[in-house]
């Protein structure tokens, strides 16, 4: 009950604080509008289906091949170029070097796909098409990823055959600029929650209200959980407003799986708030905390695709992109919206919540050790 009053108080306070509103609402919405409009032309041509080239390899004499040939003809109309090859090793190398989106092996057992991780969007698209094809002809498919050096079977052992639910090859969708930035800015706003979360407890110390909270008959844990809950709810509220504005005012597309999108966003807010609180406990001085969170958020945003889409992870940010929670979230949500692919969403949520728990633990332990809050 007291935890709830602290949470409610935090929400009231944040929502009547202009700085919060600017950071969590005005800034992301303005940026969404500016980038969404300014880049709308650049965007429509940015993912060209004409560049979509795939290698295929037929092993042995198989009935599947006939069906596959008609599939190739069908997708050619959509600009997907299949080229036949006989040299598996050369072909895999070409895929690794990103000259082709993937290598499809057609065998008696079914079809197998080797793809390059770097080309995430096209890779998923190809997977979707093959899955649809395989469903039609009743084949088992396996998808393997060629990480440099290592070939790993992904779909085969997960035993999951329904993760791509496209019913037609023609239903390929791609985001317009406004759609992209709606997702990117909402994610960025959710992540900005980190910067205000730094002040959840620190702010009480600065305001000297920590002495009142300490003197009141509530435990430190109640105070911390109230504050964290309040921080999360405030950010969720702002995030929902941004989603609604982008959906109703800017007409951005949020796809058909709003619940999954919401869960990803929620996990991201939880991550951001926990990171903020944790960092504020790990670092002593205000200036350092500010600098660190600011740099962290901006680097994560830059490499995470907040300001421009990332087509090819490895040639762009590499490790920075892969480590950016904003990339996880952008990627996960776009896959949900455009490819109906839930796997990255689930992974992102697990990572977000896992890291959040870690940082909350750090906060709890530091708080217990500290005098006062």
């Amino acid at each position: 009950m007291k935890t709830l009053s602290i949470a409610t108080n935090e929400i009231k306070q944040s929502l009547s604080n202009k700085r919060t509103l600017v950071f969590l609402l005005a800034f992301p919405i303005c940026l969404m509008l500016i980038l969404g409009l300014a880049l709308s032309n650049a965007f429509n041509s940015s993912i060209k289906i004409e560049d979509f080239r795939v290698l295929y390899l037929v092993k042995g004499n198989t009935e599947v091949e006939q069906a596959f040939q008609s599939f190739i003809k069908e997708v050619k109309k959509n600009g997907v170029q299949f080229t036949r090859t006989n040299d598996e090793i050369d072909a895999k190398k070409a895929v690794k070097e990103n000259k082709y989106v993937g290598l499809v092996e057609v065998t008696d057992q079914g079809i197998q796909l080797y793809e390059n991780n770097a080309n995430a969007i096209k890779g998923s698209l190809l997977k979707g098409m093959l899955k649809t094809f395989a469903d039609k002809v009743n084949l088992a498919t396996t998808v393997a990823k060629t990480d440099p050096g290592k070939v790993q079977d992904v779909l085969a052992d997960s035993g999951q055959n329904n993760y791509v639910q496209e019913t037609s090859i023609n239903s390929y969708k791609e985001p317009h600029a406004m759609d992209y930035y709606a997702v990117a800015m909402t994610n960025l706003a959710a992540f900005f929650g980190m910067m205000s979360a730094v002040y959840l407890i620190r702010g009480e110390r600065q305001r000297k209200t920590d002495i009142r909270l300490s003197a009141a008959p509530i435990s430190k844990m109640e105070i911390l959980s109230g504050k964290v809950l309040g921080g999360i709810l405030t950010n969720v509220l702002c995030m929902l407003i941004i989603v609604l504005v982008s959906k109703w005012v800017f007409k951005a597309s949020w796809g058909d799986h709003l619940a999954v999108v919401f869960l990803v966003l929620l996990s991201e807010v939880i991550l951001a708030v926990s990171l903020g609180v944790g960092i504020s406990y790990m670092i002593k001085t205000d200036n350092t905390v500010n600098a660190i969170t600011m740099v962290f958020v901006q680097v994560a945003a830059f490499f995470g695709g907040s300001y421009f889409p990332i087509d090819d992870v490895d040639s762009f940010g590499g490790i920075f992109t892969r480590l950016s929670p904003l990339y996880w979230a952008n990627n996960a949500i776009n896959k949900v919206i455009y490819l109906n692919d839930m796997t990255p969403a689930v992974h992102t949520m697990m990572w977000n919540l896992g890291i959040a728990v870690l940082f909350l633990l750090i906060s709890v332990i530091s708080m217990r050790r500290r005098e006062g809050l």
């Binding site: 009231k12 000297k208 002495i211 009142r212 300490s214 003197a215 009141a216 008959p217 005098e371 006062g372």
Partner: protein
């Protein structure tokens, strides 16, 4: 009954001893003054009572219960007015008081009534819906008090509640302190303004460099340092005054003449009433008296005598 007991309490910040083996107790119904210069350790002591700081040594009991053990009970019975104004600028006066009172388990209508009562008490009823950022220093100080009393604590601790405000607000606050005491609250009043402490407190402890250097009622404290009083006689001219003749008057111990201001300072035993005789001396010698003042020692002089320093930097 003892409302507060501090037993051999010590608090260190690193090697620095901020509160040094302090033992004191406050009885129910007292207005206990905690007087000391800047950095004496007053706020540190209060922060320990509030549970914000941990003690290095010793024990603190509230209403007979050790605060480290029966935490909740002790906490429910204290109200703390921090030295720094501790409120949320984004919230209205009403919301501020309501939030803090809510932490004590009050709910619904009862909570609202208490909040109104507290705001009424500090004279901020008409400002209930205003934000503290528009408040004057004095109003903020009063809100600071309201936030600490809405849950009707038995012990109210005020840490320098009148710093930086106009005399009117100060008087208002001093009156409020007396009123709270009449309503049954025990008060601990911290200050480095000795006039305030002298005015409202029934008993006083003087703290310096973390140590209690004197404790008692005003009269007791004054008698620690002196058993004499000063009578200052201002005259038109000092030329005719003979210090030796004045010294013959019963009780007079020392006579100083300030030639510049034409003032004669007569120091005499506190328990001898010799004012008539002193006045008669001046009349008999045809020396015109311009002014006459009896200077009793105050807590400032007590402090000065005990420490060799002034309470506040002059």
């Amino acid at each position: 009954m003892k409302v507060l007991e501090m037993q051999n309490v010590t608090k260190k910040f690193g090697d620095f001893v901020a509160v040094d083996n302090v033992t004191l107790s406050v009885d129910e119904g007292e207005i206990f003054g905690f007087l000391g210069p800047n950095g004496a350790g007053k706020s540190t002591s209060i922060n320990m009572i509030a549970g914000l700081l941990r003690l290095n040594e010793g024990k603190i009991k509230i209403l007979g219960k050790d605060i480290s053990k029966s935490n909740q009970f002790a906490k429910k019975n204290i109200g703390i007015v921090p030295q720094d104004i501790a409120i949320y600028e984004e919230l209205t006066a009403f919301e501020n008081v309501k939030f803090f009172a809510g932490l004590y388990g009050l709910r619904g209508e009862a909570l609202n009534e208490r909040v109104e009562e507290a705001l009424e008490f500090v004279g901020l009823s008409d400002k209930a819906k205003s934000h503290p950022k528009d408040f004057s220093g004095g109003m903020k100080r009063r809100l600071n008090i309201a936030c600490a009393i809405a849950h009707r604590p038995k012990l109210i601790i005020l840490d320098e509640p009148t710093v930086g405000i106009d005399p009117q607000s100060r008087n208002y606050i001093l009156q409020s302190v007396r009123k709270l005491n009449e309503m049954g609250c025990t008060i601990i009043y911290t200050s480095h303004y000795m006039e305030e402490v002298e005015e409202v407190c029934t008993r006083i402890a003087i703290i310096d460099h973390g140590k209690i250097i004197a404790e008692g009622t005003k009269a007791q404290l004054k008698s620690i340092i002196t058993n004499t009083k000063d009578v200052w006689v201002g005259v038109t001219s000092c030329r005719e005054v003979d210090p030796d003749e004045l010294k013959d008057i019963a009780g007079v111990q020392e006579v100083q003449i300030n030639w510049e201001d034409n003032v004669i300072k007569i120091n005499s035993a506190i328990d001898v009433n010799n004012l008539n005789k002193i006045i008669r001396y001046f009349i008999n010698h045809n020396i015109e008296i311009r002014s006459l003042e009896e200077k009793a020692p105050n807590l400032e002089t007590v402090f000065l005598t005990l420490t060799g320093r002034n309470l506040r930097d002059k």
